[in-house]
């Protein structure tokens, strides 16, 4: 038997040698014996369907020609995906086998790479091929100088989504206009006005005002707020966290205050859900959620149509107009040459202009190859959407803002360092928790009949700020992440 296997191996290797010679190009792939690639992703809903459709198309075309079969496995949220990947990479008991290809944020890539489980994509992407990608996006995946660990798939930025119908009603009644929404300070004031205005709609019940605003990603709010105000809270350059008290205080006060007083809110899973429920009239969120912004909201169990307004991400007064630039790329795990090559083949195909545009535009992502932005089809589709149904118009509007932010304004993505992933979640969780406790405390105070000013005083924002910082510090200490305060 062994002999047979040896013989077979000898024969096969000779055959491969022969075919390799005749093909002229070195490849580990064999169309007759296709390699199976497991792809883990965090896409849900339409993105998931779009990815699965794309994978299907790939398998039937390029995949079948070259001998690659991709199996896409949805891992739910980014968090779940990252946990599964980490467990797999670490070899935790009962963890699944390491996928060959997976969605990955830079922070995570760095962590997995430390375990020696990532493949340098430079081996599979020539310089010419790399040059096709938007440099900035590609840079996000480059570590240690030139190790390419993540290939960008799609990118997104954050912007301000507004239920224009609700806003207009309020704006007309209160002589407001959207320019107020360009700064966080303006947003705060408008939200305060909105709360008061809506509270006044029902004179019989006080304190039932509605929240205007929501923040989808609190971490992004903190990071980009810092950046707007000139601080890189995740300082990749120096591999540390920078806690600038003045800047952080401004960011904290705006969020904590408005959350406590009900100007801001977070009810459902995503802020778009709050829009649908009529609980919010605006929020900052990723362009990739464009499709989730509804064309109607539920009111008394019926559908109430609404208009949509897309605005740039608000900027703190006196700050630079930075918006976040984010998006998971995909990393290839260290495995066999066939699998690595197969994964690379898929990535090349999936990020090629046509494919990339199609996938990206399902929900409002941005393509990653610079050519895509000049691509006729891309622009034609945008125009078509702009003239299409309500839902499509919405997406077109988001693109307008997102493209403007990417092209014309500054976008920012923090440069990760070891442990920087923890920083994001610390920031997110700690501020969200602060907001929620503030809201609870304020509600209790409100019931005691205190005015807003009294409530704010009672809540003691300074003390709360210190509390927040303390939490952050302790978390960073726990994770062994260096930080400085200034």
């Amino acid at each position: 038997m062994k002999r047979k296997i040896k013989l077979a191996c000898l024969f096969l290797s000779m055959l491969m040698l022969l075919t390799a010679c005749s093909a002229g190009e070195k490849t580990a792939l064999d169309p007759k014996n296709p390699v199976s690639i497991t792809l883990w992703h965090y896409y849900v809903g339409d993105n998931k369907i779009a990815l699965e459709t794309a994978v299907d198309t790939f398998n039937k075309s390029v995949g079948s020609e070259k001998g690659v079969v991709v199996n896409a496995v949805a891992k739910g949220s980014v968090t779940e995906l990252e946990k599964a990947v980490t467990d797999a990479a670490k070899g935790v008991v009962n963890a699944e086998a390491m996928p060959d290809l997976f969605s990955c944020y830079p922070d995570k890539a760095l962590e997995i790479d430390e375990l020696g489980k990532l493949c340098d994509l430079n081996d599979y992407f020539s310089e010419a091929e790399q040059a096709l990608y938007v440099e900035e996006f590609l840079n996000d995946g480059q570590f240690d100088g030139d190790r390419l660990l993540i290939l960008p798939i799609v990118k997104s930025t954050e912007l301000l989504y507004v239920n224009e119908t609700a806003w207009n009603e309020f704006a007309v009644a209160n002589s407001q206009d959207t320019t107020k929404l360009s700064t966080w300070e303006g947003v705060y004031a408008a939200a305060q006005a909105y709360y008061k205005w809506t509270d006044a709609q029902t004179p019989e019940t006080s304190g039932d005002g509605k929240s205007l605003m929501g923040v989808d990603s609190v971490a992004n709010y903190v990071i980009i707020g810092n950046k707007q105000l000139g601080v890189e809270v995740i300082d990749g350059q120096n591999q540390q966290v920078v806690l600038n008290r003045a800047v952080m205080k401004k960011i904290f006060d705006t969020y904590y205050g408005s959350m406590s007083l009900g100007y801001f809110n977070a009810v459902g899973k995503f802020r778009s859900d709050d829009i649908k429920a009529g609980d919010l009239a605006a929020y900052v969120g990723s362009s990739s959620g464009a499709a989730y912004f509804p064309t109607w909201i539920e009111k008394d169990n019926t559908q109430l149509p609404i208009e949509f307004l897309a605005l740039s991400y608000p900027v703190f007064e006196g700050g630079s107009p930075y918006a976040i630039q984010q998006g998971a790329g995909m990393s290839v795990a260290n495995s066999t040459p066939e699998k690595q090559e197969g994964a690379a083949v898929f990535l090349k195909w999936f990020t090629s202009e046509a494919q990339n545009i199609e996938f990206a535009m399902t929900t409002g992502y941005l393509p990653v190859q610079s050519g895509a932005y000049e691509n006729d089809a891309f622009n034609a589709t945008l125009e078509e959407m702009g003239a299409g149904e309500a839902a499509e118009k919405n997406i077109a509007k988001v693109y307008e803002i997102a493209l403007d932010q990417i092209m014309e304004r500054d976008t920012y993505a923090s440069v990760p360092f070891k442990g920087s992933y923890e920083v994001r979640s610390t920031l997110e969780k700690s501020l969200t928790a602060m907001g929620q406790s503030g809201r609870q405390n304020a509600t209790a105070l409100k019931e005691q009949g205190l005015s807003e000013a009294e409530i704010l005083a009672a809540l003691d924002l300074n003390t709360r700020f210190e509390e927040w910082l303390t939490t952050i510090r302790s978390q960073l200490d726990k994770a062994g992440i260096p930080y400085i305060e200034n």
Partner: protein, 978 residues
């Protein structure tokens, strides 16, 4: 000639054949045992097992899901019934009130979330009978539809609300989807809403049945119009009366279905895939199908009817699938419905497809290698055979070369080959050679000592001299051992063989001048590869002995008289010597040898013969050649007389001479020796010995018949008259064997009416040897063939009657029977069986005969009469003494012999005799026929006398056809009657 090949070649061929045979046997054994294909069977079995396991896993998993769903649905039913009661409403109208609906939706979500948690499904939904948000729209249905992207993780945070009130989203902190809606709408294409309609329909068909019975599976479809193909399973939501007003369902999207339910890990072969589809009668209906992956999607064409060909194993099929070529498919029907489900006829079959060549890859490669191995080993074996055979036979070749080079006078000294048998053989050959040398010496000596007059010679092509043995030197009176050249030998040989003995091959008459002796030599010569060898034997003694023996053959052993041959030869010689003299051939037959033999035995018979021969030696005095021909026949030839008187006198005296010779038989009697003799004369009667013998034999025959114990001389007239008796001995056999007779028919006329009474059948020979029936009878009697003749006549007569019964009509047929003969019982029964119906028309004629046994005849007549035939007595009055007694047998008809009728008109005696006879017969009631009526005058007389019937040429000649009576004759007869 048999081909001779070298040992090497033979061994090569033999061993090569063995190798070939062995390879073929191996191949056949492998083929017969199907070892080649065992791996195939194993692969198929493995495939089958995997599919079986997968189908069982699937069934179990789906069964569990369905059971969970049923439990959840029933729980939800109860909760909703309770809710409706609390609301003072009915379940059917829950959707109408906002509050009630919100509560309903939350209850439903609880159930859905529970279903999602427990089962490996990608979504769960609840659809109501109407829409809360669009109450007036019958196509809108309030629904809650929750999807779970990651069913396997057990995490609820990835739930996505596709349809349902925002309250649900809030309750579970559940994200809403892009296409989030409040209602689901029916009214798309027909059948699109089957997941709602079918289970409710089922619940109306089988009220109060278990929930599983109502469950319904949809085919894959894009239920939410979001490009996601899903399969759904729904159960009805029922009120307390079992009326359906909504459904609870699950969905499994295609990617998850294939990942979870048709996983890759199962598939042992590359390019294999699963598919679930409906299958009927070996046809996979691809109107819908659930593929396991890209291969299935690529190669299975939507809407196609994929025909499968059954293979040996149960549930295993074969089909052609595009580029993948021949696929082996293992199929199992899945159990997705209860047996009592109204949808149970919807077939879900799991099929696993594997390319045939992939499946059989191992087997094929084993086969290939096996063939290579066999070919290789065969080639190796061939080479080994050639090499080994070369070395093995080398020594033997040397040996044979050595032997070939040996001269007969060399000392043999074989080199040992190291092969036991061969060395044994060579030493045996050495021994044999030694023995041969000894034996040849011994043989020569023994030959010499035996004094056998035999010698040999050898003339070799490559030698000038001839080798002779001692005997030849002696025969030719040469010095023993002297060299004889070939030329000299030619001379000697010529002398030895110049007088070949006529009629005796290889025997030469040789007169030895030296000893003055007559010698006979047998000289045999044969060609040998190297020349000629010969043997010369002195056979003088043999030849002389033979001559003596030949002489002895001329004498009869018993009587020491000449034999038959000697008689002929010697008589011929005498006639030849003196042809102008007169001679007599006397043929003698002993009269009583048979009696003596029968009575006293052959010893006494032999004594009689010897005693008789003593009598016949009487002729030796007259220089007669006395011979015994055979048995009791003797022949004597006398020759050299000038007339017949002298020998006649001598012959006559024989009887006197013989009287004194007596034979004393054991009973004490002294018997005279009786003999009959015939004489034929040379040259009067015949000139050839054979003819003389024949004629004298005939004369003796005449004597024997006329006067036993007498001498008859040949009588040519009598001979010519009777010769047929002798000559036709063979002819009668032929006549009987080949039935060479035919019948003529002579009419018998009723002399009262002038009409024909009947016909007498008259035998006519078809052989020229016989001139008339009487001769046939005579020869037959002489040859004791009467019985056969009688049998033939009777059978042929009846055959003729049968054949010509139409022409015969009611006329009587008179058949002549030989009175002394009776058919045996068997033959008679045969006649009776075949022709019994003709008996009433048959008259059997019997004649008188000299040796008539009247009792026999009486019995015969009795038998004939008893069988309904009539009897006629033929030739009555032709002159036998017991006619009257015969008459007393009372035949039906008497036929008066023609001798009494011819000329009756002018012979008063005949008239009186016939008149009396007629009167006598008429008194007894016997009819009378007058035979031989040839003239009108006789006819008149006969009629006057009162004879009943007439026969004769005047009334009608015998003819081969049935003649009718001449009308004038009839007129004449009638006139005479008046």
């Amino acid at each position: 000639m048999k081909k001779t090949w070298t040992l090497r070649r033979q061994l090569n061929i033999l061993l090569a054949l063995i190798v070939i045979f062995q390879s073929i046997a191996l191949l056949s054994a492998l083929w017969v045992s199907q070892v080649f294909f065992m791996l195939d069977a194993e692969a198929v079995r493995l495939l089958n097992n995997t599919t079986e396991t997968r189908s069982k896993t699937f069934n179990a998993s789906m069964g569990q899901t369905i059971a969970n769903m049923a439990a959840e649905t029933e729980q939800l039913n109860a909760a909703l019934i309770l809710l409706a009661r609390q609301q003072g409403s009915t379940p059917e109208s829950l959707y109408l009130s906002d509050a009630a609906y919100n509560e309903t939706a939350l209850l439903a979500s609880d159930a859905l979330v529970s279903i999602l948690k427990k089962n490996s499904v990608t979504g769960a939904f609840f659809v109501l009978n109407g829409s809360n948000s669009n109450k007036g729209d019958p196509s809108a249905h309030s629904a809650v539809y929750i999807r779970n992207t990651t069913p396997d993780s057990g995490v609820t945070s990835n739930y996505l609300l596709e349809i349902g009130p925002i309250a649900v989203s809030k309750q579970y902190t559940m994200a809403t989807s892009i296409r989030w809606n409040l209602d689901i709408r029916s009214g798309g294409e027909a059948g699109d809403f089957d997941f709602y309609e079918k289970p409710i329909w089922a619940s109306t068909q089988f009220k109060n049945s278990e929930m599983e019975r109502y469950g319904y599976w949809t085919t894959p479809r894009d239920l939410l119009k979001d490009n996601q193909q899903v399969v759904c399973y729904t159960m009805p939501v029922l009120d307390e009366n079992g009326n359906g007003y909504g459904v609870v369902g699950i969905e499994i999207d295609m990617p998850y279905f294939s990942q979870h339910y048709l996983p890759d890990s199962d598939r042992l072969y590359h390019n294999s895939f699963y598919v679930i589809a409906g299958m009927t009668d070996r046809t996979l209906d691809l109107d819908w199908f659930i593929p396991s992956g890209v291969l299935a999607e690529t190669y299975l064409k939507n809407g196609e009817q994929l025909k499968l060909k059954s293979l040996e194993n149960e549930g295993v099929f074969e089909t052609e699938l595009g580029e993948l070529g021949t696929m082996v498919a293992s199929a199992r029907e899945l159990k997705v419905y209860s047996d009592n489900s109204p949808f149970a006829d919807q077939n879900w079959t799991l099929a696993c497809f594997v390319p045939s060549d992939v499946l059989r890859e191992n087997s094929a490669s084993v086969r290939e290698k096996l063939i290579y191995s066999i070919v290789l080993t065969t080639i190796l074996a061939f080479s080994a055979v050639f090499v080994l055979v070369y070395f093995f036979t080398r020594k033997i070749s040397h040996l044979s070369k050595y032997v070939r080079a040996l001269s007969p006078y060399d000392q043999i000294n074989f080199k040992p080959t190291g092969m036991l048998e061969v060395d044994d053989l060579t030493s045996a050959v050495e021994l044999l050679n030694q023995s041969l040398v000894n034996v040849s010496k011994t043989t020569s000596k023994i030959l010499e000592l035996s004094l056998l007059p035999i010698g040999g010679y050898e003339v070799m092509d490559n030698s000038k001299h001839v080798i002779l043995t001692d005997f030849l030197y002696w025969l030719l009176h040469l010095d023993p051992g002297s060299l004889i050249s070939k030329e000299e030998w030619k001379d000697y040989y010529q002398r030895l063989t110049q007088n070949p003995v006529h009629g005796q091959e290889n025997i030469y008459d040789y007169y030895d001048n030296y000893t003055k002796k007559q010698l006979w030599l047998r000289i045999l010569e044969a060609k040998s590869p190297t020349g000629v060898v010969g043997v010369i034997q002195d056979v003088t003694e043999d030849i002389e002995e033979k001559h003596r023996l030949t002489n002895e053959l001329d004498y009869d052993a018993l009587t020491k008289l000449f034999s038959n041959t000697a008689l002929k030869r010697e008589s011929a010689r005498k006639i030849n010597d003196r042809p102008n003299k007169i001679g007599a051939m006397i043929f003698i037959d002993l009269d009583n040898l048979k009696y003596i033999n029968d009575t006293f035995g052959h010893d006494v018979g032999d004594r009689l013969i010897i005693r008789a021969s003593d009598i016949f030696r009487y002729f030796e005095r007259f220089d007669g050649i006395v011979s015994r021909i055979s048995g009791d026949e003797f022949a004597i030839y006398l020759h050299g007389y000038v007339d017949q008187d002298e020998p006649r006198e001598i012959i006559k005296n024989l009887y006197t001479y013989g009287e004194s010779f007596l034979l004393t038989t054991p009973d004490g009697n002294e018997n005279r020796i009786r003999f009959s003799a015939g004489v034929a004369w040379y040259p009067q009667d015949a000139t050839e010995v054979m003819d003389l013998l024949k004629l004298s034999d005939f004369a003796m025959y005449e004597a024997k018949h006329k006067e036993k114990g007498r001498l008859y001389e040949f009588d040519r007239d009598y001979y010519q008259q009777m010769s047929y008796l002798l000559e036709n001995r063979e002819a009668i056999n032929r006549l009987l064997d080949e039935q060479l007779i035919r019948f003529a028919f002579q009419p018998i006329v009723d002399l009262k009416t002038g009409e024909i009474l009947g016909y007498e059948i008259l035998m006519r020979p078809l052989l020229e040897n016989f001139k008339n029936p009487a001769e046939i009878l005579a020869v037959a009697a002489a040859q004791s063939k009467l019985m056969q003749l009688e049998r033939m006549i009777i059978f042929m007569a009846f055959e003729t009657i049968e054949k010509r019964s139409k022409e015969i009509g009611d006329n009587k047929i008179f058949i002549n029977s030989i009175p002394s003969q009776r058919l045996n019982w068997e033959d008679f029964l045969k006649i009776k069986e075949c022709y019994g119906h003709h008996f009433k028309n048959v008259v059997i004629e019997v004649t008188e005969a000299e040796t008539l046994d009247s009792d026999n005849l009486a019995q015969k007549i009795e038998n004939i009469r008893n069988n309904g035939m009539q009897i006629a007595l033929d030739d009555f009055g032709s002159g036998y003494s017991n006619e009257i007694r015969i008459l007393s047998l009372l035949p039906d008809i008497i036929k008066i012999d023609m001798a009494m009728i011819q000329g009756i008109h002018n012979n008063v005696d005949k008239q009186n005799l016939v008149t009396n006879l007629v009167q006598f017969c008429h008194n007894k009631g016997v009819k009378v026929v007058a035979e031989g009526i040839e003239t009108s005058a006789d006819l008149i007389t006969v009629i006057e006398i009162g004879v009943d019937y007439g026969q004769g040429f005047y009334l009608g000649r015998p003819a081969f056809e049935f003649s009718t009576i001449n009308p004038e004759l009839r007129k004449e007869i009638r006139n005479l009657r008046k």
